[in-house]
């Protein structure tokens, strides 16, 4: 049962790859068209929204009560070293290189073809797969002892699975319940687990030991509970590659678009700092701050 879908997947990949035009030493392939007018209109809108939200946030942050709840601000003494803990650097660099090659040869060309699908089809797939992750989010929010966000994700799952026709439409977002995904990585961070050493996961990249463990565990949890029952059997074999392609198509990162010999260390530096700053936000809860969960504006 498992081989046939895999073969058909390979055939699909081959057909899609053949869609470009190439001669020895030269290739020219069509990629997703740019939409500058809509992008700029979105930038204007985003700027206006941010201005309004920022003004509200600035006002709120000035209240004495909130300042007390947030605890002492981060100072230079709290800043992590510029050097990233990367004891597996040689292996990580090898994996990064493998990922770059895999991405360029297979993942990205397929994702580019996927991006050519009509927009409603793409968003249908994307919404469907995102809806599946709500189950894991609910479980993690419970383990994080955050009933509010848990109810939020549960509400989204129920609404989108019913009114959204099995999750194909994000009806909940239109009802002011925007997506707010979480996972075991965030759960561990909430309970004070350090990110650990930097880790490049094959195909996915980049991560840390904690985030990598969380990622694998979240998938294992979903597979074990198999609810909705789409993770196993033929359905699972068909949907998993599409979910991967959908995930890739929704990430703009491209390996070596910088062509810099220092890309590995730059990505590592930025990723780990981003993780640590997000961790600080999650741990505020320990210090008696209000739940940092506010999906508004997302």
């Amino acid at each position: 049962m498992g081989v046939r879908p895999a073969l058909s997947g390979l055939l699909l990949c081959g057909t899609l790859l053949a869609a470009g035009c190439a001669s020895p030493g030269f290739s020219m392939r069509s990629v997703a068209a740019e939409t500058p007018a809509a992008d700029n209109a979105a930038a204007i809108k985003r700027e206006q929204q941010l201005q309004a939200e920022q003004a509200a946030a600035a006002q709120a942050s000035q209240t004495t009560a909130q300042k007390r709840e947030l605890g002492p601000p981060i100072t230079a003494a709290d800043v992590p070293s510029m050097t990233t803990y990367d004891p597996w650097e040689r292996m990580n660099r090898f994996t990064y290189r493998f990922n770059a090659r895999f991405d360029e040869a297979i993942f990205l060309p397929v994702a580019n073809q996927y991006r050519r699908l009509p927009s409603p089809v793409q968003s249908g797939f994307h919404n469907f797969f995102f809806n599946l992750t709500e189950v894991v989010s609910v479980i993690n929010y419970i383990v994080q002892l955050r009933p509010g966000p848990g109810a939020h994700s549960l509400g989204r799952f129920v609404i989108n699975s019913t009114l959204g026709i099995g999750g194909l439409f994000d009806v909940a977002a239109r009802m002011h319940l925007p997506p707010a995904r979480t996972g075991l990585g965030a759960t561990l961070a909430r309970w004070g687990v350090h990110p650990g050493p930097y880790l490049v996961i094959p195909i996915f990249s980049p991560s840390t030991l904690r985030e990598g463990f969380g990622f694998v565990s979240d998938y294992a949890t979903a597979y074990l509970i198999n609810f909705p029952p789409v993770y196993r059997g033929t359905v699972g074999w068909v949907l998993t590659p599409i979910a991967l392609i959908d995930a890739r198509a929704n990430v703009s990162f491209r390996y070596y678009s910088t062509d810099s010999p220092f890309e590995y260390s730059t990505v590592r530096f930025l990723y780990v700092r981003k993780t640590l700053i997000e961790d600080d936000r999650l741990r505020l809860w320990h210090r008696g701050a209000p739940d940092a969960f506010t999906p508004a504006g997302r």
Partner: protein, 434 residues
Amino acid sequence: MKVSGALCALSALLAALPAVAEPIVGLADSAALRATVLGTPPQEIAPLPARVPLNEIDITLPWARQPRPAVFWFAKQLRAWVSPQRGPAPLAIVISGTGADGNTEKLSLLRAVLYGAGYHVLTMPSPTFPGFIAAASSTGVAGDLLQDSHDLYAAVGEILGHLPARIRITEIDILGYSLGGANAAVIKSIDSTERRLKLPIHRAVMINPPVSLFSSMSRLDQLFTASIGPGDQGFEELYRRIYVRLANFYRVSDAVRIEDTDLFAAAAAVLRTDNDFAAAIALTFRLALMNVFFAGDLYAGTGVVTDPRHPPSPGDSTDSIERRLRDMPFSEYFDRVFAPYYLSHRPGATRASLIAESRLEIIGDALRSDRDYYAQTNADDVILNQPELDWLRNTMNDRIAVYEHGGHLGNLGERQQVTDMLAMLGGRWPEARR
């Protein structure tokens, strides 16, 4: 500098941050520094088309210097981007700025306005982009205006020779921003003698070009020293300062999440003082220089940061190399890599002659007499000093538009800049301005 859409949006947040009084760095005024980092506000961008088709080109260039260092395993082919019109149309070749690739946000903006104006658009990386150095440079040692432009011209020729016949080109024009502007003008000058393209390059527009690469880079080094300081200590202090602000900012603000944008863009939201903005500009150029320095050192075998006998392999850590390069200004690159290489490969060359050859003056006669060269710049451009701005004005005469504000490329895509640029490319300048 790469300024993402998210960064533009985040620029609005700066209005909400308290102004911090601090002496300005002295090399540029406050508005120029801010404009350079934040770019044109989206509300002031010229009308853009709804859809721009895009094709990625990968090409192998036989003259690329071999052997290619192992750490550049990913850059065997040069990458460029083309947006073709359906019918016959003029082609606009657009060249990126210092250290940048052929698909930056700035290029994307220029591509959109040019495509909207009816051009086929080919966007090319800068010859100082590491991917270009590894896949298209005949020397591997970037920074020579004429040599780099020769390599770029040859690469354009190869690409145009391979384009499918359905892309029907009626005329070729060339433009570029920052260092790419100087490259564009030099390429037109080369083309006027070599004529290796199917059609001659008609018009060239330089947007915020340097007048002297050496002088502009030295100016940016001064900006680095003034705003960040020498040694790793200054760099570390800057990192701590930005990290503290970012972390505290995200504690109190739910309006923005880091995952919505990238960390560089997020950092722009917490820049406050002139010193911060100056540091952001200086750092961007220093990061570009690090790539050029590293590649040049490897290709030239000068052994400044790499051991020529044991060059780094793709699995090796580059941390110590990066730490050393962070503290090395352009003058170090020039004196320890660039000059040794070119002095040994160019008979009769001297240090002074190499500096002179980094000036736009090498095509000064053409710029003065040929009415198909144009320029756009800003009176407060960070990379120019007053004598250089005067030189540009005097040289280009009535074929230059100098805007009062905008810093370095801080008004790219703005309505007037685009109107003027299109008038220049269409041969309607300066009549269109009157």
